[in-house]
């Protein structure tokens, strides 16, 4: 059983990581590399004479196969990590009578996206390279706390009996009322349009990655369990 869990999570994580990486190369990385031109000063958007224009031109993602290979590899590691936790929770629910199928797995995946990407991303949106943030420790703590609070809230909605599900509302709101750590200065050098597109595309690819992860975890596990 545990062996099925580990095998299924790794297979699903590697596949979802590959899907996510390919989507990132198509949508996210070109924006990231365009942002790097502003980070390094190769391009300047906010010129000193008061003009705030710069040409929109995406660099090709190039032939740095080591860099992009690492992006694929680390996506696989990240999605495998999330997959191990997600599938352990799925199996726990399955043992409690909430039968796991690839379809319910897909819902688990979307819920994972909401808890792990969307909720913390509302307070700390994905940022381009070169963005300056507050001290990393408190931001990581807020990030982890938000994920846990949102995940518990979603579990209450999905499995809570009666009015206990209403507890999910304060749970989901709490991290945002406390508020993510923020600086009192804006440091951004990249055009706001570019940053916004980068953030939105990151969410989009993460949603695809997480949906794939949930579906595939359930798919591999239900099949392994049959055999």
């Amino acid at each position: 059983m545990t062996k099925n869990l580990l095998t299924s999570a790794v297979l699903a994580g590697v596949a979802a990581g590959l899907i996510a990486a390919l989507l990132q190369f198509t949508f996210v990385i070109p924006h990231l590399m365009e942002g790097e031109l502003y980070e390094t000063g190769a391009r300047i958007h906010f010129a000193t004479d008061g003009s705030t224009q710069s040409d929109r031109m995406q660099p090709s993602i190039g032939t740095d196969f080591t860099r992009h290979g690492m992006t694929i590899a680390f996506n696989m590691i990240t999605y495998t990590g999330y997959g191990l936790i997600l599938l352990a929770l799925m199996i726990f629910a399955n043992d409690k009578g909430h039968t796991l199928t690839p379809r319910t797995g897909l819902i688990w995946g979307v819920a994972g996206f909401v808890a792990v990407q969307l909720a913390p991303g509302i307070g700390q949106p994905p940022v381009l390279p070169g963005a300056i943030g507050s001290e990393v420790g408190p931001r990581q703590a807020w990030w982890a706390m938000t994920i846990i609070a949102t995940a518990v809230a979603l579990a209450l909605i999905a499995f809570g009996k009666g009015r206990i599900a209403l507890l999910s509302i304060p749970l989901m709101l709490a991290p945002h009322i406390i508020g993510a750590p923020y600086l009192d200065t804006y440091f951004g050098v990249a055009p706001p349009e570019l940053s916004a597109r980068f953030a939105a595309l990151s969410f989009g690819t993460a949603l695809a990655g997480w949906s794939s992860l949930g579906f595939l975890c359930a798919w591999f596990w239900t099949r392994a369990d049959d055999a």
């Binding site: 990240t78 191990l84 039968t99 994905p126």
Partner: protein
Amino acid sequence: MTTKTASIARDDTSSALGLAIAVLAGVFLLVASGMAQATVLHDAAHDQRHAMAFPCH
């Protein structure tokens, strides 16, 4: 379909230990891929960390 449901129910032996091991392994991988500050690891994971919005620096 009926057979499948039955077989899942019969194999209902997932130990708490097994689930805990999976969660710990997952957290370990995430710390390595998303949080670890070692320069080599940070640079290699750079693009992926930005795309996945890890609060890493």
